[in-house]
Assembly symmetry: C2
Homo-oligomer: 322 residues x 2
């Protein structure tokens, strides 16, 4: 079985790759469990750190049709993670459209050309929601995204549902919560501070919380994201009805609650490294996002969230020390 | 003021053009009422039948970027009606994508390049709804289109909302009911029979109703469509909040009720020219469509529906005899 991960050199892409290698087998579009013989990591830069004969790192542009055709030849499953993040898509409309919409379309068109329609797991986002929202959002909530990133993700969800209905692909769009705690440097995601206010103080670095402490977010740890991506892949096509979109479970926590958890887990010296200084664009983005979901469909497929935010902090400390 | 109508040689395009010429003035994106000095009808074939110095008929492809740029130069308002209809978009996925999605994108990109962001009135469709639906659909209903046509319209709605939020255009997407009674030959819209079962028997032609008589549709007369397109154009940008989509009011009627109205208005000899013979694709499409809407936002802007289906039949007879 040949599996592709776009964005395969990124943090989530690499963790997903390790998980797939460890599992050794996945369920294909016909419901057969098959060993993964080839795992292609496609990204702008070649993925590093894999010492496994099954892994092939490919460096290149998602909008390069010839490269995509070559890379996807014979693919059974595609995890499509590559994207321009929210901050960049909001500030550079054309780049967001080119990568998030056109890149995805090109990928889906290549998938459609394969002899066997592959499974396609698309990382959508809770940013597809926006506008007036109830406190607890049902799976049937109407989409009014208030950012270009959310709009582009919602448009791709539509296309994936339609191409799955037509039998061109076997797609599933996972609406991911904000992923926290991400390791490494800050990226240009507007929700990036969620990771920053935990990661930086743990590394001894003073940092800023750019939203009011009462600002809530919908959160999921990297570990759970990986688990849920696999569950989304393994679900049979028959589990889907009128849509291929799945709201992934998460937990709702305010910045204050996130910092309180940091204080409980890592102590006052660490937690005191965070000060609040409001950034208007980040505040606009975060307050446009939903903060609590039922996620009943995702749960019915077996998806789960972290038990609480303290666990998320502890998991990050554990993962960082590996 | 320069106004563009794409699909300007079509039935609705031409009626809209006549209405705009008769009105003589429209409200621009700055809220100023201005006389229409130039009305460009863009379509694959040149629009005929206009003897008015303000009208310019342009024949060409919506996907021709150079032609679009030239045609749109200095435009204040664009009515974007051109589209591949539902039946064709379902049977030819690539053509639907190329015209309904890419053509619209190209048009919006050209609008964005204008010195002043123009008003853009986009004819979306009630086909953006689908999947499980309540008997009376609120404005906040989630979109699960079950046809490629509906998917393409929904994707364009998203883009228009985002580009309006960004200030690139001043867009408004009108989700039109099935338009009945259309004159002339049947087109490839899957809902085309709604017109056919009234128009053909009135013309002395035996015809087939391809759905169960109990199958309901959401309907609007051409007269009301034109009125509502103008209302959608005239509404100030300030009337919109988190979305630029408007569900246009209509009336819900079953095929039986439509035929009963024909019988009341035109008599037994005419009504007896219709026989029922089920077509599976038309039935799939029509039973995937919603059948009754609140349309509160549209009504709040002043949009209205026909009083009843008898009026729709009478209006068609009146318009046909002109």
């Amino acid at each position: 079985m040949k599996v592709i991960i776009t964005g395969g050199a990124g943090f989530i892409g690499k963790r997903l790759a390790h998980k797939i290698l460890q599992l050794g087998a996945l369920t294909d579009a016909h419901g057969a469990k098959r060993s993964v013989s080839e795992l292609v990591l496609l990204d702008i830069v070649a993925a590093q750190g894999f010492d496994d004969a099954r892994v092939k790192a490919v460096a290149g542009d998602l909008n390069d049709a010839a490269l995509l055709a070559e890379t996807l030849a014979g693919a059974d499953s595609v995890f499509h993670l590559a994207a321009v993040v929210s901050g960049e898509a909001e500030q550079d409309f054309d780049k967001g459209i080119r990568v998030n919409l056109d890149g995805t379309r090109l990928l889906l068109e290549q998938c459609r050309k394969l002899a066997q329609p592959p499974k396609v797991v698309f990382t959508s986002s809770c940013a597809v929601f926006g506008g007036p929202l109830p406190a607890l959002i049902p799976d049937t909530q109407e989409l009014y995204p208030q950012t270009s990133y959310g709009i582009q993700k919602a448009m791709c969800e539509m296309l994936i549902s339609d191409m799955s209905r037509k039998g061109f692909i076997d797609g599933r769009s996972l609406r991911l919560p904000t992923i926290t705690v991400r390791p490494g440097k800050p990226n240009r995601a507007l929700s990036g501070y969620c990771s920053g206010i935990i990661r930086e103080p743990l590394n001894g670095i003073e940092t800023v919380c750019p939203v009011e402490p009462s600002t809530r977010a919908w959160l999921l740890s990297p570990r759970k994201v990986i688990d849920n991506l696999i569950i989304g892949h393994e679900a049979p096509a028959s589990a889907f009805k009128h849509t291929r979109a799945i709201t992934v479970p998460g937990i709702s926590a305010s910045a204050q609650e996130q910092l309180d958890a940091l204080r409980r887990v890592a102590g006052d010296v660490v937690a005191d490294r965070v000060t609040v200084k409001i950034d208007p664009l980040v505040t606009y983005f975060m307050t446009s996002l939903p903060i609590n979901f039922e996620a009943n469909f995702g749960k019915s497929l077996g998806m789960t969230a972290d038990a609480n935010f303290d666990d998320i902090v502890r998991a990050h400390i554990e993962d960082s020390s590996q």
